[in-house]
């Protein structure tokens, strides 16, 4: 039980990243490929937050109650840095996805299809 509790977040994050990578490599539809990129992003976010989690601590917001309850001692909160990194990564991710989708719309206008097998410039 402990093993499951300790590794489930990493497992979930890893699974999302791998599903996303697999989609990017094997799917033929551009929208599906971009959905795969979105899954990879979400997976990395979960991974980062799971790395920063510390058991038995609370959210890193020092409310007055929390400050009073600990007095002079160091407040027991989780690591704030991964959370800050993920905030940044979420915004970067949405920028890339939106740009990718607008490019996909343009590719569709030129070719009338989103199938990478039928688009000469996207074969690989």
């Amino acid at each position: 039980m402990d093993l499951v509790a300790n590794s489930m977040y990493y497992l979930g994050a890893g699974a999302l990243i791998l599903i996303g990578l697999y989609m990017v490599i094997t799917k033929n539809n551009l929208i599906k490929i971009i959905l795969g990129l979105s899954l990879v992003d979400t997976g990395t976010h979960v991974l980062l937050i799971a790395i920063g989690y510390v058991k038995g601590r609370t959210a890193p917001i020092l409310t007055e109650e929390l400050l009073e309850s600990v007095g002079e001692a160091i407040p027991k909160v989780v690591d704030p840095i991964p959370q800050a990194l993920v905030l940044t990564a979420i915004v970067i991710g949405v920028g890339v996805l939106a740009l990718g989708l607008s490019l996909a719309i343009k590719v569709y206008e030129h070719n009338g299809t989103l199938d990478v097998r039928k688009i000469r410039g996207l074969k690989w």
């Binding site: 039980m1 499951v4 509790a5 489930m8 977040y9 497992l11 979930g12 699974a15 999302l16 599903i19 996303g20 697999y22 989609m23 799917k27 033929n28 539809n29 929208i31 599906k32 971009i34 959905l35 795969g36 979105s38 899954l39 979400t42 976010h45 979960v46 937050i49 799971a50 920063g52 989690y53 601590r57 609370t58 959210a59 890193p60 917001i61 909160v77 989780v78 959370q83 993920v86 905030l87 979420i90 915004v91 991710g93 949405v94 996805l97 939106a98 989708l101 607008s102 996909a104 719309i105 569709y108 299809t113 989103l114 199938d115």
Partner: protein, 79 residues
């Protein structure tokens, strides 16, 4: 608590597989939004309320809207 989180993670993986398997693009987009929403709940459990809000508003909300717009401007079936 652990059980709830385990169920959420399991649902997240299932939704991720569904994103990959579903042929209808709108359904796949919705499945992807579900992944983001479940992830944002997980962030809440991991004591990251800021990130949970951002993921729910940006990841599950706006990204999905942009995806739906893109799918509607192209064809909605994966062939």
């Amino acid at each position: 608590m652990v059980v709830i989180q385990a169920v959420l993670i399991l649902m997240m993986i299932v939704a991720g597989v569904a994103t990959s398997m579903l042929k209808d693009l709108i359904s796949a987009v919705i499945a992807c939004a579900a992944v983001s929403l479940l992830a944002s709940m997980l962030f809440y459990f991991l004591d990251a309320p800021d990130v949970a809000m951002a993921e729910a508003a940006i990841g599950a909300g706006l990204t999905t809207a942009v995806f739906v717009i893109a799918v509607r401007k192209t064809r909605s079936k994966e062939e």
